[in-house]
């Protein structure tokens, strides 16, 4: 099937089997290997990308369903010489060990901070109608779709918390 994908501001023409997941299209056909395949069943979060600003599991959606959508992967968030605030904070707080889950963690957290800014409550929010703070408890709950088997969660939470606070002040 022929279709186009807009990824990190660039348009790509593709001709792929309808079965191709968005993750496989990014990795195997567009060479964007930052997004990782962990479980391939939406359980681990390593494949997290943003579609129209929202975080999703790219393994659980078909590439051909995303014509016209704006897709952002880890490669679109920053570069080695120009890190995004979260990428910098993950380095600073040692938010990884093997690094396999890190692109998914950072894409997820980037969109998650926007969800907090938009006032979305979570399962641990006491008052559904109050403004939410990026507390450790809130961040842990909201990031539960991203597993880190090296268990670097304390560093991950610290990194996200720092950026969420900076952005709340900005």
């Amino acid at each position: 099937m022929q279709f186009q994908l807009d990824v990190n501001g660039e348009r790509h023409a593709l001709d792929l089997d309808t079965r191709t997941s968005l993750l496989d299209a990014l990795r195997d056909h567009l060479g964007l290997t930052g997004s990782k395949k962990g479980c391939d069943h939406g359980q681990c979060g390593a494949c997290t990308v943003m579609v129209n600003g929202r975080r999703i599991n790219s393994c659980l959606t078909l590439a051909c369903m995303h014509e016209g959508d704006e897709i952002t992967t880890i490669e679109g968030l920053g570069r080695p010489d120009d890190l995004s605030p979260l990428q910098r904070a993950f380095v600073e707080h040692d938010g990884y060990q093997c690094g396999y889950c890190t692109p998914g963690q950072i894409c997820s957290a980037t969109a998650m901070i926007e969800e907090i800014k938009a006032g979305w409550p979570s399962n641990v929010t006491d008052d559904l109608e109050a403004q939410v703070e990026a507390s450790i408890e809130e961040i842990s709950e909201r990031m539960s779709g991203n597993l880190c088997r090296c268990s670097c969660y304390p560093g991950i939470v610290d990194a996200i918390r720092q950026v969420a606070r900076e952005e709340a002040r900005a």
């Binding site: 309808t18 391939d40 599991n57 959606t61 997820s108 006032g119 109608e129 842990s140």
Partner: protein, 327 residues
Amino acid sequence: MRAFDYVRAGDTAEALREAGGAETRFIAGGTNLLDLMKLEVMAPGKLVDINRLDLGGIEATGEGGLRIGALVTNSDLAADARVRRDWPVLSRALLAGASGQLRNKATTGGNLLQRTRCYYFYDRGEPCNKREPGSGCAARDGMNRILAILGTSEHCIATHPSDMAVAMRALGARVEVEGQGGAREIALEDFYRLPGDTPHIETVLEPGQLITAVILPPPAGGRQIYRKVRDRSSYAFALVSVAAVVAVENGRIAKAQLAFGGLGPMPWRDADVEDALVGETPSAALFDRAADILLAEAKGHGGNDFKIPLTRRTLAAVLTQATEADQ
């Protein structure tokens, strides 16, 4: 994954036209369907993508309720200011389910139609009457810790996994459905079917029919609670959950709308339980009597026997919280 044809429908009429044939499935979020297709537990010959249909809004209804379009994501529904204020049990249930990424993709219609997480349904090396009618049920004598204690049959003991649907059942929601024969509304209590000897048929939807919306009746008021008991505190299916809408007036229970997840093949509601509570003074003995009624027909299968006392305690905890003075 088996090969399939893919069609992107531009509007509801086109989607319904394309949906003829038993091998066709609609796809919206796809978070459950694609997972099952990867495992070849489901293998539709054709997918009709309905994401471009105009079913994404949440509107007030004339009677003071809400009409939730079938394509509204779980995230958007949970965060809707009206839902948070007037139907909080629904926000709570949605937020208790899945992960942030999945809630961003999963839709209202798809959530109602998600399939059981019974291990044997997913494992093509094992018999499962739901996956392959007539093949048997490996769960009854197998690992059935997460499975049902109410509404089961000798052919199937699967649970319906949704949190959202449990809250909607407590709220008395209705499902709007459209097919070639026109549109109709189905009360959520009539939407699901018990497994009996056809556990592969889970709802009253006919082939080619499409869920277009869910209708919430006007705000029920009262104290609204969604309590979910699970193996992890986040991102896990319910072992037992209770959605409660309870009001106390002059020291007596004036309203009790209770639905349960993790217990049966559908979000479970029992009018006899509610009748036993309404008009009575809240007490531990009363809550115990309500549990007796709810669980009169409950049947464990070994691994899930614990759900019977767990349900009793969870119900008591929820009713205690819901009827406490000044909160």
